[in-house]
């Protein structure tokens, strides 16, 4: 650990600290228990402070913090640790046939404290978020004829604290969080005793995060949390779960030995029948009056329990099964990826770049067919190599457990700035302003209007980079499938996408007669060049706008100014180095500005979080989730056409639909996981939950009428059950 600032350094401080601990842990509770009648007596009604534990229901419960001092922007964790008496157990999120899942609620009110005055600052909703409870893998406890999923001995339930929007104002004013933890847990042997406890304490906030004394426990606990099951594809057939392509025992796993269904799945808790059939594993659930036909639609199905290899003693590991089963067969996914790539040619992101290709092709049309073939193949190779690099990056991230989605490049400001620079340069070059120095000349040619194969290669690379923000309609399910599938499948999918993108030009190779249709070069080419240059300029401006949503508008404007300075540097030799230096300085200044994305908030939307969704659904309200990002053109178009329309808004409000916006402009793990649960890896995604019903996915390109008809058809009553 890099920073291990230790609180206690001198002997005197150590003694004082120890005395304080003794007082806190022994003397005070003793006094409290002795003078019990003067306090509100029933166990759980007394509110405890941070260091205090409670002994009730044959268990000891306490609250632990990963960091003693929080730093805004740095994630932390809060844990509820329970130590259970021998023979007693407490429950998992699905308790099984009986029992109850623990409740662990955390609430915060921010408090800014100035030494002179007492200022109270409210933490606005969304600035500090507590993720849902993380449960370690439980064990199955059988008490025939019933079964439960529970923990014996010791267990810690954790919740992550995240700062989704770091605001510098909050950081300075906030000195501590007033935290209230309300916990309820059930402890059973044969009989059951409920336990309840509230803790209230201050969680200090400072400039540097200070790890807590029990931080090691959080790290240990992280190992007990179930990982994600991504070993194979899977599907449901009635009450049977089929895991397809599970490696044999020589591989990573020894055996699938059990499956703990989630509470939402409605599956029977009874031990399922597990059998192996070639390279697939079948998990057959008992018939339960609740789910005789098949599981309820959910995005968390439960835990696949696997015996770890070379371990006959029975040590097992749990893996979370999430998401919609892959309904898309692999060849259909490839077809969709190819078609999506084809459609990308028409998308506004890609068109400016393609226009460059058109220029050079126009010239080539006059030359030999072999030249054309060379160029087209070079272009295709450029497209494919970029796709493969993307694939490698995604694979690397996947292997380390992080999830990225399609379009993740646009979430990084550095990438957006780089693209802005490229587009600006291309625009400038097309306008013919780029004719300085031999060094620049060669590079400029290579990028834009050169007639070498290298030019085509670079155009291909560029096309892919720029295509990422636009998810063409057919691409979304295909990309979601490909990115979640085994690595070879993922590369195949990306290749299909690349080939689709390059297809219009590949056609020229296959049908050279088409070339004859190409209009002869003339004055129109110059006009087209200017038009395309303007298109590139507009795209550059669009990138600056995206940057203003990733950073602040001021920072983005500064970057824009730096870009202009850069162009001036190229234009006027005399001021070149001066202008470049200023440009660099402006860039560095812009990067160091505080990064708020506090834009005008639209009252129509609430922020997305899985808790908000669960709460609204539990209240029987219809929920609509708009997964969007500022850099996603399709999303922005839909937003303007459908969601800003006054009539549609009124229509929505009449039906009392809870409208949630999942803004994926910046990287967000919760939204990425939520997208993944629908088998998607990018935006846009529109999900509608009718009250008491299953999720319905709307098409990627929406019109007000289409939106209304889709929601209306989902709202018409159908046979339902929880």
């Amino acid at each position: 650990m890099a920073d291990s600032r230790i609180y206690i350094s001198t002997t005197r401080e150590r003694r004082r600290f120890a005395l304080g601990q003794v007082t806190l842990r022994f003397v005070l509770p003793f006094i409290a228990s002795v003078s019990a009648p003067t306090f509100a007596s029933p166990a759980g009604e007394v509110v405890l402070g941070l260091g205090e534990s409670t002994r009730q229901a044959n268990s000891v419960g306490q609250v632990l913090l990963e960091h003693n001092v929080l730093q805004p922007g740095v994630d932390s964790q809060i844990g509820l640790k329970l130590r259970l008496d021998p023979e007693w157990h407490t429950y998992w999120s699905n308790p099984g046939d009986s029992g109850a899942a623990p409740r662990f609620e955390v609430r915060v009110v921010g408090r800014g404290v100035e030494l002179a005055q007492n200022t109270q600052t409210e933490v606005s909703p969304g600035e500090i978020v507590f993720d849902p409870i993380q449960f370690p893998t439980p064990t199955r406890i059988d008490l025939p004829p019933l079964t439960s999923f529970a923990y014996e001995g010791e267990v810690m339930f954790t919740r992550k604290l995240r700062w989704p929007r770091t605001s510098s104002n909050l950081g300075e004013a906030l000195k501590a969080l007033n935290v209230e933890v309300e916990a309820e847990w059930l402890v059973c042997r044969k009989e059951c005793i409920p336990a309840r406890q509230t803790w209230r304490f201050e969680w200090p906030v400072g400039e540097q995060a200070v790890p807590g004394l029990r931080q090691a426990e959080f790290q240990l606990n992280a190992e007990r949390l179930p990982k994600s099951w991504s070993v194979s594809r899977w599907k449901w057939e009635g009450r049977e779960l089929q895991l397809l392509g599970v490696p044999q025992s020589q591989g990573q796993f020894s055996e699938v030995v059990d499956f703990f269904p989630s509470a939402e799945s409605g599956l029977s808790s009874a031990r399922p029948e597990i059998s192996r059939d070639g390279d697939s594993v079948r998990v057959r659930f008992a018939e339960d009056s609740t789910s005789a036909a098949g599981p309820a639609q959910t995005d968390f199905w439960g835990l696949v329990v696997v015996r770890t290899p070379n371990n006959a003693s029975g040590a097992v590991e749990g893996f979370e099964l999430r998401g919609l089963p892959q309904g898309l067969t692999w060849w259909r996914a490839l077809l969709f990826a190819w078609a999506g790539g084809l459609l990308l040619n028409l998308m506004p992101c890609v068109l400016p770049v393609i226009s460059l290709k058109m220029m050079s092709l126009g010239k080539l049309a006059q030359q030999s067919q072999r030249e054309v073939t060379h160029h087209v193949l070079a272009y295709t190779l450029g497209v494919l190599s970029c796709m493969w690099v993307l694939g490698v990056v995604l694979a690397v991230f996947r292997s380390t457990g992080e999830s990225l989605g399609w379009g993740f490049q646009m979430q990084s400001p550095g990438f957006v700035i780089a693209m802005f620079a490229i587009f600006l340069l291309m625009c400038w070059a097309l306008l013919g302003r780029w004719e300085l120095g031999g060094r620049w000349m060669g590079w400029g040619e290579g990028l834009t209007q050169g007639s070498s194969a290298r030019a085509s290669y670079f155009t291909g690379l560029l096309a892919v980079i720029v295509a990422s923000p636009c998810t063409a309609p057919l691409m979304a399910p295909a990309m979601g499938f490909a990115l979640a599938a085994p690595i070879s499948m993922m590369f195949l999918g990306l290749t299909a996408l690349g080939v689709g993108l390059a297809t219009p030009y590949l056609l020229l190779v296959l049908a050279p007669s088409l070339l004859r249709l190409w209009p002869k070069p003339g004055a129109w080419m110059n006009r087209l060049k200017v038009l395309m240059a303007m298109g590139l300029g507009v795209t550059a401006l669009w990138l600056i706008w995206i940057l203003s949503t990733l950073w602040t508008p001021l920072a983005a404007a500064l970057v824009g100014a730096a870009g202009v300075l850069m162009l001036l540097a190229m234009e006027f030799r005399r001021i070149r180095w001066g202008a470049l230096a200023i440009a660099l300085g402006v860039l560095i200044f812009a990067a160091r500005l505080p990064q708020t994305s506090a834009g005008p908030t639209d009252e129509f939307w609430q922020n997305f979080s899985s808790q908000t969704v669960q709460r609204a659904r539990a209240n029987g309200q219809p929920v609509f989730i708009n997964y969007t990002a500022t850099w996603c053109l399709t999303c922005q178009v839909n937003d303007r056409v459908v969601f800003r329309d006054a009539d549609t808004r009124r229509w929505i409000q009449e039906r009392g639909v809870v409208m949630l916006k999942a803004d994926w402009t910046k990287s967000d793990a919760e939204i990425t996981a939520s997208l993944k649960s629908f088998g998607r890896a990018g935006v846009p995604l529109y999900v509608f939950y009718p009250p008491g019903g299953e999720a319905k996915l709307l098409p990627e390109i929406l019109t007000p009428a289409l939106f209304r008809s889709e929601v209306e058809s989902a709202l018409t009553p159908s046979s339902s059950g929880p």
Binding site: P145, L146, K190, E191, G266, S289, P722
Partner: protein
Amino acid sequence: MQFTKETMNRLSRQVAKAGVVIALSAAFGSTALAQVKNGEAAPDFTLKSAAGADVKLSDYKGKTVVLEWFNNDCPYVKKHYDSGHMQKLQTQETAEGTVWLTIVSSAPGEQGHLEAAAAQKLVGERKAKMTAFLLDPKGEVGRRYAAKTTPHMYIIDSKGVLVYQGAIDSNSSSDPKTIAGATNYVTEALREVKAGQSVKTANTKPYGCSVKYK
């Protein structure tokens, strides 16, 4: 298949496991729970009530019947009884002609088990207003209906068809303060049955302590 030592070990382990299961099931009778699906005819049963009479489910054909699984020592049953909520529900529904049968399936020696005299006394102490308090010490009726928790609620309509099974309400906390804000599935289902409609929320996951079968 190669009869290696590993295979033999694995085989013998599995045979031993099977043997244990067979032995256990022989010793304890059928340990599995049967089940009744919504829309099926509710199986008939005869149980002795706390008052000593023989009560048959088919006696009540033509009336709506509520079955409530009960264990006096379970914190979740206490949540509804200590607060008076369950008694109020019973009074309300029996006044409208619904038959309310409370059943105890705890085996002798297990938590919640009651002999007839103690059961009678309890009904008085609790001021409970069920139509009959039935004792099922062998757990046969509980197993037949796959009753898993206390409380576990079932509603049978006047034609003898099971139309609801599951939790009493939507909040599984043991805190009685949560009863007011929770949706009571039983009240809603009874209302829909009375109006001749189909029950919208017909199947919920029951919460509570496990039924203490043998």
